[in-house]
Amino acid sequence: MAESLYEIVEEPIQVESLIKKVERRESGAITTFIGTVREWTKGKRTIYLQYQAYIPMAVKMLAKIGDEIGDKWPDTMVAITHRIGHLDISDIAVVIAVSSPHRKAAYEANEYAIERIKQIVPIWKREHWEHGETWIGNQLETISYPNGKPNVEDVKND
């Protein structure tokens, strides 16, 4: 396989291309997670988003998530692409595809991937609200890392 399983891109993401990357004859299940730009968050209207990444480290951390999944769910195969730059409402920010012989692992590994992305991958979202703008992850949700490293327990379901 010449193509990369872990990518940060500036162009729209094609879901089918990620599905193709994880297709195997031994698969019986493929799950995908598609993160899209939502218009309303807690009563505030988003106009558009900007994502910024520390690209080489972000790719490394995506690959690290893939390695973690390989340890926890040995028969799975994972591909992740995250888009950066300007994204409008309903645009796709991230796609995670997981294939597995059996479905349970495909769901679990997929959900694990998005939780880890929100913990360790150096990507930042700037929300452009109807009235103002802000980098998410600092002012709104004051998270700090007392242990030096991001922790599984920090994750919220958003």
Binding site: I117, K118, W124, G137, T142
Partner: protein, 77 residues
């Protein structure tokens, strides 16, 4: 020389995405202290650090040729 990369609100506050620090070696905690003093970057509290694209702690030491990145709480996904 140590290369320092800045992202998100840190980058915005400083008006640049990169700094070069002329030193042979320095502990991350000292580097943070230095930048807080020099650029009023109090935002460096509660910010993670990466050395050469791997997460590091305030106790780690960087040497000339290393790249340090300050990683505010991430918000991808």
């Amino acid at each position: 020389m140590i290369k320092v990369l800045l992202f998100a609100h840190l980058q915005e506050k400083l008006g640049k995405d990169q700094l070069d620090i002329e030193t042979n070696q320095i502990k991350i905690s000292e580097l943070k202290h230095k930048l807080k003093d020099q650029y009023y970057l109090n935002e460096l509290d509660g910010v993670m650090t990466a050395i050469n694209e791997e997460y590091a702690t305030d106790e780690d030491v960087v040497k000339s040729g290393d790249t340090v990145a300050f990683i505010p709480p991430v918000s991808g996904g």
